[in-house]
């Protein structure tokens, strides 16, 4: 097992802080909303964090904040048995077809 999580970055070397801000896109706000709403169904912030921390390091670095959150949400829902991988896969196919 790894000794230090990739997310556990306090004290490591890094460059200047890029003071970027962006106005969050609709889909990002909806990801935020979905995660908050699922608290009603006992999905904890701890599970969300654990699943973000489990992302491979290159993915963690490359993905944007809400990309990490939505990936984590999918894992949490699967782990909780709320949705299955198969359901997600089929729905993604449907949505794709609708959008082309």
């Amino acid at each position: 097992m790894i000794q230090r999580g990739h997310h556990d970055m306090g004290g490591l070397d890094a460059g200047k802080v890029e003071r970027t801000e962006h106005d969050y896109a609709g889909w990002e706000r909806r990801v935020d909303a979905l995660v908050m709403l699922m608290r009603r169904h006992r999905l904890t912030v701890d599970e969300s964090r654990k699943n973000i921390e489990a992302l491979p390091p290159e993915a963690y670095d490359r993905m944007s904040y809400y990309e990490r959150w939505v990936a984590s949400l999918a894992q949490t829902l699967i782990q909780r048995g709320i949705v299955t991988s198969d359901e997600i896969g089929r729905k993604m196919e449907d949505v794709c077809k609708r959008n082309t």
Partner: protein
């Protein structure tokens, strides 16, 4: 109501540490979801206050209830005690919340 949103958890036992006491963060590196940052492990600091008792995030992350709630402390560290090459004022400090099971007496 899910466990996390209960405002107060009773302390099941007497807290081990008091405000002002010197403590050291255990130098462990276990797998799982851990909220004691790597950089502070092995460092010595002072209990600033007992924050209360909270469910254990290490267990909550694994879809368990994290109970019984564990004592959580705000611990203050002198920056010069955390980073050997710290360049700021010797009075500068770091404050972090750390669960009792990560602390030991010095």
């Amino acid at each position: 109501m899910q466990a996390q949103y209960v405002t107060h958890y009773p302390l099941q036992e007497k807290p081990l540490f008091e405000a002002g006491e010197r403590v050291r963060v255990r130098n462990a590196a276990p797998p799982g979801h851990i909220r004691t940052p790597f950089y502070i492990r092995g460092c010595a600091g002072e209990i600033e206050r007992l924050c209360g008792a909270f469910p254990n995030p290490e267990e909550l992350a694994q879809m368990r209830d994290g109970l019984p709630a564990k004592p959580l402390y705000r611990v203050r560290f002198a920056q010069k005690d955390v980073w050997p090459d710290y360049k700021g004022s010797p009075a500068d400090v770091l404050e972090i919340e750390i669960f009792q099971h990560w602390l030991e007496k010095t």
